[in-house]
Symmetry: C2
Subunit: 229 residues, 2 copies
Amino acid sequence: MYFCVNKYLMTRSEENYIKTIFHLGRKGTQEVATNAIAELMETKPSSVTDMIKRLSEKDLVNYKRYQGVSLTALGNKTALGIIRKHRLWEVFLVEKLDFSWDEVHEVAEQLEHIKSDKLIDSLDRLLAYPKFDPHGDPIPDKNGGFKERDRELLSEVPINTGGVCVGVKDSSATFLKFLDKNGIALGNQIKVMEIEEFDGSLNIEIDGRKMQISHVIASNLYIKANDGI
Amino acid sequence: MYFCVNKYLMTRSEENYIKTIFHLGRKGTQEVATNAIAELMETKPSSVTDMIKRLSEKDLVNYKRYQGVSLTALGNKTALGIIRKHRLWEVFLVEKLDFSWDEVHEVAEQLEHIKSDKLIDSLDRLLAYPKFDPHGDPIPDKNGGFKERDRELLSEVPINTGGVCVGVKDSSATFLKFLDKNGIALGNQIKVMEIEEFDGSLNIEIDGRKMQISHVIASNLYIKANDGI
DNA sequence: ATTATAATTTAGGCAAATCTAAAAATTTGT
DNA sequence: ACAAATTTTTAGATTTGCCTAAATTATAAT
Ligand SMILES: [Mn+2]
Ligand SMILES: [Mn+2]
Ligand SMILES: [Mn+2]
Ligand SMILES: [Mn+2]
């Protein structure tokens, strides 16, 4: 098949594999391991091998036995398309249907597989072309254009650093509900006041209010440091 | 399986069969034939038999070999849930995303399978609880409540009858585009002025404008007759 | 009442996506 | 360098959903 724009022929399962490989490929720059895919997708390595072969057949991934897998240009573009849909739907659910940020992911996992360019582009327009999803993750544009916002983990910045909370690393419902309960949200001004040597916990000031958070919490919050004067 | 609320375990294919059986069951009051299902779903009778057995196993349909099939109470409720979703999504596409009424069906066929009560009920609220979809078909409420609007085919009403165009029987893109081209839309006032004996074509007045339409067209337009004084 | 026709079901097979168990290749530890 | 541990792949089975071809049952025609 020459020039196979296979976007519309892909199964849901294939799309989910491509998306997972994309996410795993971002972290390390190297090839993605079969076991890593299996673990993240809660499936068996043998199933992964099967699927990888099919994806390789369709020119979505580069694959050599025992050597791990990586996305081709086509695979990458496909992944960005799915992620665009996922994140736009998440914005829709929050902005238009009053979902909370811990409820959107599950439904977006389904909606991201709906096939219609017109649908997703109209949705984009309805939402006024948002650049970030409810968890602070960037939304690829129509052409897969991606602006990775420059941000740092709260746990990694030096003392006295102030900035805006712009994202979460873990976007599990558990963590998000924890943040809600403690009044931590995207957009808040956060300043690191003190770091406990003993357990790495942080004393922070968040929108003027003082509180203490564990290292684990801090290592799952992204801030964008305030512009130095 | 006792008390199996299987709504969330159903496959897309199963849902499509249930929906088709529902639609076919509405017309004639009797059992639905295997061949009728196969034809409407563009599949083979043997495939239908296969699926019917599975659905029967799950208590969604009543089935006796060679005797046709009908929905159980559970099957009926399931069908109404899917149709509710389909039609609400169609309204969404037209009202919020500026789709035209001939573009919505295909996408709604996909969206109707998204599983989330919260999603569909929020969508219902966003749309202000619409009672009819863009083609004039009634939208079941949360509990499957259905108000079949009383309406008649334009081809069946006597001469001089006037009424509002409230629906289409055929909602194929071809027919809908034809109506667009000829300035016929839901909400128009239509009055039958004359019926040609030769070919059954009708002279009508539509929102004041006179035009002639074939019998085929008239037999695919529903009107609600004006209240007599 | 047979026979012909039509509808439906069965039998057997195939592709996608998964699994378990076993084999093969790679990596690690000494 | 070689054995042990780990990772990955293969082999073979299962389920869903579909197909073709053949058999069965029901219906219509004479
Ligand atoms: Mn998500
Ligand atoms: Mn997100
Ligand atoms: Mn429709
Ligand atoms: Mn409709």
